[in-house]
């Protein structure tokens, strides 16, 4: 049922290969070509004489920077509008939003590791790639989930997620749930009744999926409305890990890897 998704995989490859892991537009289209340009870009890109490029400015420069929440809302609104023009239904729209979040997850993962690394070993600030302590990528599901629930959520929304649960059903041991009581992305969204299944946090689900995939945990992530009296916008992100991940998980458990 899981179809191979060459574009996604390729995008991931190009990111881990790119000199700058965060070049936003750079590695998206025609990823294979991008891989080549690594070696053949001798004439390369022009840079301003004051060298204000991503390579010359500190990656943590924007770490604590803030922007207007409205700016985000407007950009997100345009993203939803644009996606709506190209889809046929709610599921399709959510899929599209998920796909928009996915590359963001891949990029954030690198930023996240870079940050956690540089804060733990401050000596490696300038030469991150050759740092003696390798990035602490999670090997098992639980550390990955904690990474999402804590650091990822804090990076994106300035607070941790509200809950993390494992499916109680023995039939679905591969399902985990992360809860956000009041997703930032849905702040201004009033979903019409005829679309009441829609949850635009599918975008965030895509981000999570990108993070999982980037760590080598194949997963499908979806966003679901689970309103309560107190939290009308409560959203559950359902993470379903692939079989290969579950098998590996067993092997690692036997090997005593945490």
């Amino acid at each position: 049922m899981t179809q191979p998704q060459p574009p996604r995989h390729a995008a991931m490859l190009s990111i881990s290969n790119g000199g700058s892991s965060l070049a936003a537009a750079a590695d998206k289209q025609q990823p294979p070509q991008h891989l080549h340009t690594q070696s053949q870009s001798s004439q390369g890109l022009r840079v301003p004489s004051n060298r204000k490029t991503i390579y010359d400015r500190h990656l943590n420069r924007s770490r604590n920077a803030e922007l207007s929440r409205a700016s985000f809302a407007f950009l997100f609104a345009e993203m939803v509008t644009y996606a709506q023009r190209r889809v046929t239904g709610i599921q399709d729209l959510e899929k599209r939003l998920n796909e928009q979040g996915y590359p963001l997850g891949l990029r954030l993962l690198d930023l996240l590791f870079y940050r956690t690394m540089s804060s733990s070993t401050s000596s490696s600030l300038s030469s991150s790639s050759t740092s003696s302590s390798p990035p602490n990528r999670p090997l098992r599901i639980l550390p990955l989930l904690h990474l999402i629930h804590g650091p990822l959520w804090r990076l994106l929304f300035n607070r941790p997620a509200d809950a993390l649960e494992h499916s109680v059903s023995p039939e679905t041991p591969n399902e985990y749930m992360i809860t956000d009581n009041d997703p930032l992305v849905n702040t201004y969204i009033s979903v019409p009744k005829e679309m009441n299944m829609l949850n635009c946090a599918a975008f965030v689900a895509g981000i999570i999926e990108g993070v999982c995939d980037g760590c080598g945990f194949e997963a499908k992530v979806t966003a679901h409305n689970q309103p309560t009296e107190m939290w009308p916008g409560r959203t559950i992100f359902l993470l379903r890990f692939g079989e290969s991940v579950m098998e590996r998980e067993k092997v690692l458990e036997r090997a005593g890897v945490k």
Partner: protein, 168 residues
């Protein structure tokens, strides 16, 4: 005080939102329960008009109101200068309150004649309800031909609350 009705007109002179609360009991003045419960009147069964004479529809009312405020506002500017604007007028039956944004969105509210100035209230509706729930809602279009996107749940509910709890 009693709020009779509320209208929003966009820069294309179109009425993009209208809302009526139960009309003033003008024909049944018997009981002096001067505060009709603020329920949205179902357009189909609604009494003919706010001030209860002819069989005008709400659409007709909206057109009349737009014509009136548009002329008054232009007259105010001609006489008082570009930055002048009219704020309210009163008849023996009702009081009309007016607030216009620099983007030419016009907010109009009709109340009973004893009501104080609603200018600040209209501005609050613009800032706290219209901008937050209509303008920033990704599922609302940027403009609202035919009122599309204004009548969403968040906006309507908060308007209802504002009018029933804060204003009355």
């Amino acid at each position: 005080m009693v709020v009779y009705s509320f209208y929003i007109f966009d820069r294309h002179a179109e009425c993009i939102y209208k809302r009526r609360w139960l009309p003033r009991p003008s024909s049944v003045v018997a009981s002096k329960s001067s505060r009709p419960t603020s329920e949205a009147s179902a357009p189909a069964t609604a009494p003919p008009a706010i001030l209860g004479q002819s069989a005008r529809t709400t659409d007709d009312d909206a057109k009349l109101i737009f014509g009136t405020v548009f002329s008054l506002r232009n007259m105010a500017r001609k006489l008082g200068g570009e930055d002048d604007n009219f704020v309210t007028y009163r008849t023996s039956q009702y009081r009309l309150h007016y607030y216009e944004t620099p983007t030419n969105i016009k907010f109009v509210m009709l109340t009973d004649i004893k009501s104080p100035s609603m200018r600040v209230a209209l501005q609050q509706i613009y800032i706290n309800l219209y901008v937050e729930y209509v303008v920033k809602n990704p599922l609302s279009p940027a403009e609202h031909p035919g009122g599309v996107g204004v009548n969403n749940e968040l906006f309507e509910e908060s308007l209802e609350q504002f009018v029933t709890r804060v204003l009355s």
